[in-house]
Symmetry: C2
Subunit: 428 residues, 2 copies
Amino acid sequence: MKTVKIGIVGFGTVGAGAAATLLANHDVIAKRTGVNVELVRIADLDITTDRGVTVPADMLTTNADDVIREADIVVELVGGTTFAKTLILKALNAGKSVVTANKALLAKYGEELFAAAAANGVDLYYEASVGGGIPVIKALQEGLVANRIQRIYGILNGTCNYILTRMEREGADFADVLADAQRLGYAEAEPSLDIDGFDTAHKASILASLAFGRWYGMDPVSVEGIRNISLTDLRYADELGYRIKLLGIIKAINGSVEIRVHPTLVPKNALLANISDVFNGVMVEGDMVGQTLFYGRGAGRNATASAVVADITDVAVNIANGCPRRVTFRENAQITAVTAPGDVQSRYYIRLQVKDTPGVMAAVTNVLAGENISISSLIQPETTGNDVVPLVILTHSAGEAQLRAAIKNIEALPAVCEQARIFRIEDL
Amino acid sequence: MKTVKIGIVGFGTVGAGAAATLLANHDVIAKRTGVNVELVRIADLDITTDRGVTVPADMLTTNADDVIREADIVVELVGGTTFAKTLILKALNAGKSVVTANKALLAKYGEELFAAAAANGVDLYYEASVGGGIPVIKALQEGLVANRIQRIYGILNGTCNYILTRMEREGADFADVLADAQRLGYAEAEPSLDIDGFDTAHKASILASLAFGRWYGMDPVSVEGIRNISLTDLRYADELGYRIKLLGIIKAINGSVEIRVHPTLVPKNALLANISDVFNGVMVEGDMVGQTLFYGRGAGRNATASAVVADITDVAVNIANGCPRRVTFRENAQITAVTAPGDVQSRYYIRLQVKDTPGVMAAVTNVLAGENISISSLIQPETTGNDVVPLVILTHSAGEAQLRAAIKNIEALPAVCEQARIFRIEDL
């Protein structure tokens, strides 16, 4: 049995999980693949903290170069986009294959990193970068290889999904649930990366790149997080048959790609609407396969380790069989055009607070009609004794530019009291 | 760019879909893989019927040997277990790799077929045999390779799921929905393979083999279909918070494997319970990844073609990179023991029709207590003017043997009027 040597850089939560998995399940991996996937070295600046996994003391080093020198596969689990980038390039240029879970790095520097892997004839694998333990990169790259990808909808951030699930289930406010999630360790002390949608955006960019063969980077990705979702909107959505989820949305329409991240109303009976708590789910639609969905834990030590070790094994099998770069991201630009934000078409949920006076409804609906925006349903709940009442409008598909123009005019109406709350709707 | 030649045997629905996909999406497959996957020959006894896909006349042949001679990869899509088996063995022995969608054949003769593939140093791929277009074989074999598999629950037969969905949604009887499904082409004129659970059983056996590294064949698989599911039971299940789905269930418990197929009560809020119509879904639980779920179309020309062409591409990439048998089923028997049916533990739903007389409840519950079967809930709906009333009992986990013994004694009670209706419950 051939041996392939594995070195990990970054002995934090995921690094420790990957090491533990390589050790605990070494036997089944060898039986299934015919390859001895052997952990030989782990580097971290801190090699004294107990990580909950027992490794021989001489396996640990504070010098990442030891890992690059001794391992056939270098596993980058330090995160961030500075040292991690240098490390990966150094490993690739030393002729070593690399496995990483670093979505921010790939989303930003994918093109450069994959060019370096190609130039050196080695592999760069990244299953854990999207969807945690869910093998969705492999599904997109191999399992659905026969398809032209049409749409991808992903619940890609466990923290956001956890917060939205609890808000809906408990009728609790965003701020309270966020604070509790922070206390429980489901949200970071500095939660912006998650709740403002950037983490989802990194992942959506990677999925779009895989689907359409070009590294889009972050520029074309429009991003809106979950801070502005109120209980009021969750309740109206519910009444109208929807849940609100933070989705990464990728669509190919008329030879142009749109990549966006925003809170989205999805029909309650759709599988995506039923993905709760910290779980992730990715719906991929291809021209042949139709709709598929991949579900699992999007984060956490062991689930992420499952994906990292799957990558390690895949690359090890390539090395053992002398076929590096058997499957890799190939720059082939099936679709290069990117849709400008103003040209994106969507259905909308609009909630207004309006004065309860005659003519308001006519004024609002006239503005929408003037922008050619058609109303699919409308609720004005019966209220008593209030001067200001809510008005909730669902539209048919309309252009973002038209919608923005209409909202500007609606907000200028004397009877409209607050900024409109606007969410997009996807009927999946 | 290297060229790999593809030949298809069986130009029926799936064969035509695979041919159409290879032709329509040839360009994206080449861009993604760097390999020219070229359809060169199609064999069928009938080469005159219009299959809805345009191929050059000289690509067609009535002689499967032409395909074996000319192709690098032979795609078996004739079905059945006689000619298909001979054909596959002939192709493997001629040094050709094979792609098949034939679940019955693999479930029965997997061991022999994979031995032949190994002896000849070629690939035998079968993604389309389970879950149609869902890349679940790849997920189990590669994406989750780092895990010890603990449980698999699969909705694996679209016909059964369609019938159950319509029964539940419309309050319609099994026989009526089956007749309508036959009229619409969702069920065969001879529906037994689907509705009696055998198709699901073939797929469950394949999944178990993949998960645990041994060809179990069909002998250890206990099978019960959906003929005996009544509207009454769907309604009580609903009242108790469950839906009834036909599941293939695979569990590894204490170093022993159980493989069974039967109608199962699953909690309504579980994702599996929300997989409707002809769709399939497979929940795989691994020790590291936790619960994952894979969802999509389990049948149909294009969805199945998506999986067949993914396999073709995978094998073609192996051939182009000189690494046949890079990933394959390896007989490694992680778990050889099989649990005897009587030893399987499960929760149960029991519906009795009992005479509305004093002491019935005591008599029934005494029998259960005597077999150490604990009741988790019980409904005796209020009825008026009926001599015979329903009694629905949900149990905690109990052994199959104990349950059978208890039911025998319960059915012998003078107050019990009909055969008990029994379904298993899985809380997922």
